[in-house]
C-alpha cells in the first residue's frame, strides 16, 4: 500500500489539479459566458483602498436596475491590474482582439495616440450630445450628458479626431498633506507655511529636530512619483516665458516640435535661466526627501508618512481616502497647496505666478473598445454611473472629487477644490525617444543633487542636437498616420455600404459633414475655424 501511494501520489496530485482547474474554468464560463447573460469586462489599475468596493457597489446596483428596466441579465466584471503591468495588458489585449469592453485609459500609447484611438475605441459624440436618461426627474433632465460634467467634458474631447472618446468618473488635484501633531511639535505652530521660504525653513527645522532627538524623521516623503508631482506644480510657472516664445500655433502649449523649431532658430537653449533655475528649485526641494528616494515607490513614500517617519507628503486627492483610513486616530492630517517661490530673491525673476488648475481634466477616464459586443450596454452603464446621485455616492465612498456638477464635497476634500487663477505653461523638449529616456534617467541624478542643473542642461542639449531631427521626423510620421485615420473616419461617414445594391454608396458630403460636426458647430466661439474646415472638405 505504502509503495502504491508513493508510486502514484504524484500522478494523483496532477490529475486532481487538472480536474479542479478545468472545473473552475467551466464554472466561470457558465457564469460569465452564459448565453442569457451579457457579460461586460472592465479593466482598471486603481488598486487604492475603497475603489474596487465603490465601483462594485455601482455595478451591483446597475445590474439590478438593468434587469428591472429590460428584463435581461447583465453582469459586469472588474479586472483590476497592477500599475506596472497595465500598459502591457492594455497593449496586448487590444492588439490580440481580446480587450475588455471598457478600459480605463492610461499609460499605453495605444490608448493615447489619435491613430490608435480612432481604430480601437468607440467615438462618443452622438451619445454625449444627448441627455442622460438616468437624469430624468432631476435638475439635469433634458441637459446634454456632456454638460452635466464639471468641465463640459472638454478634457475628453480629442482635438485631432474631433470627437469624444472617454467618460471620466472623478477629477484630481494635488496638494501637500502634513502630520499636524508632528508639525506642531517641531515648529510650535498650527498653521501650515505660507510661502516658499517658510516651507524650506520648516523642513530645515524638521531635519534639526531629527538630528537633535535621533528620531528617524524626514521633512517630506519622496519617491519618483512625488518628485514628478513637484515637477507638475513648479515647472509650468518657470517655463511660462519660454512657452510664450515657442508657442507657434497659439494653442497654449509649447509642444516638442515647436520647442525643436525654436531651438533651431536659437530662441532658447538648455542653459536658459528659466530652465536652470527651475531645475535648481526642484533639486533644492528634493534634497528634503529621504535618502535613496529615487529607488522608492509611491507606496513606500505613503508608508513613511503613515508610519510617522515623514512630516509631509505631496500627493493627490486620489490618496485622501487611503491616508485617512490608514492613519485613523494616530495623528491629524492637514492639507495645503504648493507654495510657488514668487517672492524668492532669485526665482521670482522667472516665476510667473501660481499654476492654474482651470485645465484639470477628468480622472478615471473610461473608453469603450470597438471589440465590445455590448457597446450600448457599456454606454448605458457609464450614463448610470455619472448621474449626480451615483457620482456623488461613488466619490464619497473613496473620498475623491466628483466630476458631475453640483455634487457635494466631503470636508476633507475642500482644500482640493481646483484653483482657477494662475498660469499654464507647458514646455516639452522631449523630441526623440532618446531625449525621453535620458531626460528621465538623468533627472533623478539632478534632483538628488549629484548633477548640477548646468551639467544636466549640457547633457540634454547634446542629445537634443544629435537626435532632434530624427525625433521630428518621427513626429511627422505619427502625424501623417493620425491624418490617415482622420481621413478614414471621414471616408467611412461619406462612403457607406448600401445593402440594397450591395455596393458602396457615396452620401451627400454636406449632410454628412453637418452630422459629423454638429457638436462643434454648436460652439459659437469655434464656429469660424470649424466652418473653414467644413468649406475645405465640402469643395
Amino acid at each position: 500500500m505504502k509503495s502504491f501511494i508513493s508510486k502514484y501520489l504524484g500522478i494523483a496530485i496532477l490529475v486532481v489539479s487538472i480536474i479542479s482547474t478545468v472545473a473552475i474554468v467551466v464554472r466561470n464560463h457558465l457564469i460569465y459566458e452564459s448565453p442569457d447573460v451579457a457579460t461586460i469586462r472592465l479593466c482598471h489599475w486603481q488598486l487604492e483602498s475603497g475603489f474596487r468596493e465603490a465601483l462594485q457597489n455601482l455595478i451591483n446596483e446597475y445590474e439590478k436596475v438593468y434587469f428591472k428596466k429590460y428584463g435581461e441579465k447583465v453582469r459586469i466584471v472588474q479586472l483590476p491590474i497592477s500599475e506596472k503591468g497595465y500598459r502591457q495588458y492594455v497593449n496586448t489585449t487590444i492588439i490580440g482582439g481580446t480587450a475588455p469592453d471598457i478600459i480605463e485609459k492610461a499609460f499605453a500609447k495605444i490608448a493615447e495616440e489619435p491613430a490608435y484611438i480612432a481604430r480601437f475605441f468607440v467615438p462618443l459624440s452622438r451619445y454625449v450630445a444627448e441627455p442622460n436618461p438616468y437624469n430624468k426627474g432631476t435638475e439635469f433632465e433634458g441637459v446634454p450628458w456632456k454638460e452635466t460634467f464639471f468641465d463640459g467634458l472638454i478634457s475628453c474631447y480629442n482635438r485631432t479626431l474631433l470627437d469624444y472618446y472617454k467618460i471620466p468618473f472623478s477629477m484630481f488635484t494635488i496638494r501637500i498633506y502634513y502630520n499636524k501633531n508632528m508639525y506642531k511639535k517641531i515648529t510650535g505652530k498650527n498653521e501650515p507655511p505660507k510661502n516658499y521660504d517658510e516651507l524650506l525653513a520648516v523642513w530645515a527645522k524638521a531635519k534639526e529636530y531629527a538630528n537633535k532627538t535621533g528620531k528617524p524623521i524626514i521633512p517630506i516623503a519622496g519617491s519618483k512619483v512625488q518628485s514628478d508631482i513637484f515637477g507638475y506644480k513648479f515647472l509650468p510657472t518657470f517655463f511660462y516665458s519660454l512657452n510664450r516664445k515657442c508657442d507657434y500655433d497659439f494653442n497654449g502649449d509649447a509642444d516638442r516640435y515647436e520647442t525643436w523649431r525654436a531651438f533651431k532658430e536659437k530662441k532658447w537653449n538648455f542653459q536658459a535661466p528659466q530652465l536652470i533655475n527651475a531645475w535648481q528649485c526642484l533639486s533644492e526641494l528634493a534634497q528634503n526627501f529621504q535618502e535613496g528616494w529615487v529607488a522608492a515607490q509611491r507606496d513606500d513614500a505613503t508608508f513613511m508618512f503613515i508610519q510617522k517617519r515623514a512630516m509631509m507628503i505631496a500627493s493627490g486627492s486620489w490618496d485622501a481616502s487611503s491616508l485617512l483610513t490608514q492613519v485613523g486616530d494616530a495623528f491629524e492630517i492637514g492639507i495645503f497647496d504648493f507654495l510657488i517661490p514668487t517672492d524668492h530673491p532669485v526665482y521670482k525673476k522667472y516665476v510667473k505666478g501660481p499654476v492654474s488648475e482651470a485645465n484639470v481634466g477628468g480622472g478615471i477616464p473610461w473608453s469603450i473598445t470597438k471589440q465590445s459586443k455590448y457597446k450600448e450596454i457599456c454606454i448605458d452603464f457609464l450614463r448610470f454611473c455619472t448621474t449626480k446621485k451615483n457620482n456623488e455616492k461613488f466619490n464619497k465612498t473613496i473620498t475623491w472629487l466628483p466630476i458631475i456638477r453640483g455634487c457635494k464635497l466631503s470636508n476633507i476634500l475642500k482644500p482640493f477644490k481646483p484653483e482657477i487663477g494662475g498660469f499654464i505653461g507647458n514646455f516639452d523638449f522631449n523630441i526623440s525617444q532618446e531625449m525621453r529616456l535620458r531626460s528621465q534617467g538623468d533627472k533623478w541624478d539632478l534632483f538628488s543633487g549629484r548633477t548640477s542643473p548646468e551639467q544636466y542642461g549640457k547633457t540634454l542639449q547634446k542629445i537634443f542636437k544629435r537626435t532632434g531631427d530624427e525625433g521630428y521626423l518621427d513626429i511627422l510620421d505619427g502625424d501623417q498616420r493620425n491624418q490617415r485615420n482622420i481621413d478614414r473616419v471621414l471616408a467611412s461617414f461619406i462612403y457607406q455600404w448600401d445593402d440594397e445594391t450591395n455596393k458602396i454608396k457615396k452620401a451627400a458630403i454636406e449632410s454628412k459633414l453637418i452630422q459629423l460636426m454638429s457638436s462643434a458647430q454648436g460652439n459659437k466661439a469655434n464656429n469660424f475655424e470649424r466652418m473653414k474646415i467644413f468649406e475645405k472638405y465640402k469643395n
Binding site: 506596472k84 500598459r87 502591457q88 497593449n91 487590444i94 492588439i95 499605453a108 500609447k109 495605444i110 495616440e113 490608435y116 481604430r119 480601437f120 528617524p216 519618483k224 529621504q290 535618502e291 535613496g292 528616494w293 529615487v294 529607488a295 522608492a296 525617444q433 532618446e434 529616456l437 535620458r438 528621465q440 534617467g441 538623468d442 533623478w444 541624478d445 538628488s448 549629484r450 544629435r466 498616420r481
Partner: protein, 432 residues
C-alpha cells in the same frame, strides 16, 4: 537489439511514434518557432503591433548600427574569420581567412576615410581615438606572435586575437567615437559586459556548494540539502526581487545596517574619500544602492549574495553524482588531498554542466530585464545605468509602440548570443 532509424519511408510501421511526437512538435512549432520566425520577419518591418506593417528593408538595423556600409563588411569579415577558427579543413580555412582579410582591409580603408572626415570636423579630436589605436597596436602584437611564437596555444590565441581585436577596435570607434547607431542600446551592452564578467565569478559558490553536498558522507544529510535547494524553486522570483529591494533600502534595509555594525562603512567612506572620489559614501552612512548611478552596477552584481543559485547547484550535483566511486578510490590510494580531488577529478568531470550553466548564464544575462524593470523602472534608473538590451527592447515595444524595431534588437541579440554560445562550445573544452 538493433536500433532502427525512424524515417518517413517506414511511416507505416512507426506511425504510432510519430503520432506520439506530433503534439509536442506542433506545440513547439506553434508556440516557439512561429513567433520566432514572425519576429525575424517583423524586424524588417515598421510594425506597431497593431495595424501598421510596412516593409522597410534594413532600416531598423540601420538605426541600430548607424553607417551600415561600414558595419556590413566589418561584421561579415568578422564572421568569416570566426568561422575559419571553428571549422576543419586546411583549404577552407585558408579560403575563409583570405576572404576575411580582403573584406576587413576594405573596412579599414572605409574607416580610414571616415576618420579623416571626423578629425577635420568641429567635434573631432585625435585624443578620442587613443583607445582605437591602442586596440590596433594590440592587433599588431598579435600579428607578431602569430608568426613568431613556438607555443601552439599562444600562436592560436594570437591568431584569434588578430581577427577579434581589430574588430573590437572598429566597433569601439564606430559606437563610442563616431556615435553611430542607437546610443542607448550600445550603452546597455556595457552593463551586460560587466554583468557577464561578474557572473563568471558568481558561478563558483554554486560549484563549491554542490561539491560540499556531494562529499557529505551521510545520505540523509545529502537528501536534506537537495530538498533544501529544491524548495526555493517554488518561491516566485518576484518575491525574491522584493526582498532584495528591501535589503537595498538605504534607511531600513539590512545591508546598510550590517555595514555599519561591522564597521565596513568606515572603510568604504575612507576609500571613497581618499581613493575613488565618487562621493557616494558620506556620513551619515546611508548609501542609496538603487538610487545612485555609481552604485547601481555594484548593487546589480551583489544581488543574490552568496550567489548559490538553486538551479546551478542541482545541475552541478547531477554531474557530480555521475562520477564513479572507483575514481575516488583510486585517488585515495594515490593520497590525493581534498583540494586536488576538486581540481583534478570533480571540476574536469562536471565541465559539461559548467558549460551548460555558462550558456544559460550568458543567455539569461543578455535577456534580463525583469529585475531592472521592477527595481529601477523602464528607463533603467538614474542616468539609465541599469538599462539592458532586454529592457530597451521592452521599452521600444510597449512604451514606444515600435514592435518592429524591438524585433530587430531581438534578432541582433539572438546572433550575439549564438556567436557567444558557439565560442563557448568550441573553447570550453570537456576532458573526460
Amino acid at each position: 537489439m538493433k536500433v532502427e532509424k525512424l524515417k518517413l519511408k517506414n511511416l507505416k510501421e512507426n506511425w504510432i511514434i510519430f503520432l506520439m511526437l506530433a503534439p509536442t512538435v506542433a506545440g513547439i512549432a506553434v508556440f516557439s518557432y512561429v513567433p520566432a520566425i514572425e519576429a525575424v520577419r517583423h524586424s524588417f518591418y515598421r510594425w506597431d503591433g497593431a495595424f501598421i506593417e510596412e516593409f522597410i528593408g534594413l532600416d531598423n538595423f540601420r538605426r541600430i548600427l548607424g553607417n551600415i556600409s561600414i558595419w556590413f563588411p566589418l561584421l561579415s569579415g568578422g564572421i568569416l574569420a570566426g568561422l575559419s577558427a571553428l571549422i576543419e579543413g586546411k583549404k577552407t580555412i585558408i579560403a575563409l581567412r583570405t576572404l576575411a582579410v580582403i573584406i576587413l582591409s576594405w573596412t579599414f580603408f572605409l574607416l580610414y576615410k571616415d576618420t579623416k572626415l571626423f578629425i577635420n570636423s568641429d567635434n573631432g579630436s585625435i585624443d578620442k581615438l587613443t583607445l582605437t589605436f591602442a586596440f590596433l597596436g594590440l592587433a599588431f602584437v598579435c600579428l607578431l606572435f602569430s608568426f613568431k611564437s613556438k607555443a601552439d596555444k599562444i600562436r592560436n590565441l594570437a591568431r584569434f586575437g588578430l581577427f577579434f581585436i581589430p574588430m573590437m577596435a572598429a566597433m569601439h570607434y564606430l559606437i563610442y567615437i563616431r556615435g553611430y547607431g542607437d546610443h542607448i542600446l550600445w550603452m546597455s551592452f556595457n552593463l551586460i559586459g560587466i554583468l557577464i564578467i561578474a557572473n563568471l565569478f558568481k558561478m563558483w559558490p554554486a560549484i563549491f556548494a554542490a561539491v560540499c553536498i556531494h562529499r557529505l558522507r551521510s545520505e540523509k544529510w545529502k537528501y536534506f540539502y537537495r530538498v533544501l535547494f529544491v524548495i526555493p524553486l517554488i518561491i516566485p522570483q518576484m518575491v525574491g526581487l522584493l526582498i532584495w529591494k528591501f535589503f537595498y533600502d538605504p534607511n531600513v534595509g539590512p545591508i546598510n545596517k550590517i555595514l555599519v555594525v561591522t564597521g565596513i562603512d568606515k572603510i568604504l567612506m575612507w576609500a571613497d574619500k581618499w581613493i575613488f572620489h565618487l562621493g557616494v559614501f558620506n556620513p551619515p552612512f546611508k548609501p542609496a544602492w538603487l538610487g545612485d548611478p555609481s552604485l547601481i552596477i555594484p548593487a546589480l552584481i551583489f544581488w543574490g549574495f552568496p550567489w548559490v543559485g538553486v538551479v546551478g547547484v542541482l545541475i552541478y550535483l547531477s554531474g557530480l553524482q555521475n562520477i564513479s566511486n572507483d575514481v575516488y578510490e583510486a585517488a585515495e590510494i594515490d593520497g590525493v588531498g581534498w583540494w586536488r580531488r576538486f581540481t583534478s577529478i570533480e571540476f574536469p568531470l562536471i565541465m559539461t554542466q559548467i558549460r551548460l550553466n555558462l550558456v544559460l548564464m550568458i543567455i539569461g544575462t543578455f535577456q534580463a530585464y525583469g529585475f531592472q524593470l521592477i527595481l529601477l523602472g523602464v528607463e533603467g534608473g538614474p542616468r539609465n545605468k541599469g538599462m539592458t538590451p532586454g529592457l530597451y527592447m521592452f521599452f521600444q515595444a510597449f512604451n514606444e509602440q515600435k514592435y518592429g524595431y524591438a524585433c530587430a534588437i531581438g534578432l541582433m541579440l539572438f546572433f550575439i548570443i549564438l556567436i557567444l554560445t558557439v565560442i563557448n562550445q568550441r573553447y570550453v573544452r570537456i576532458q573526460k
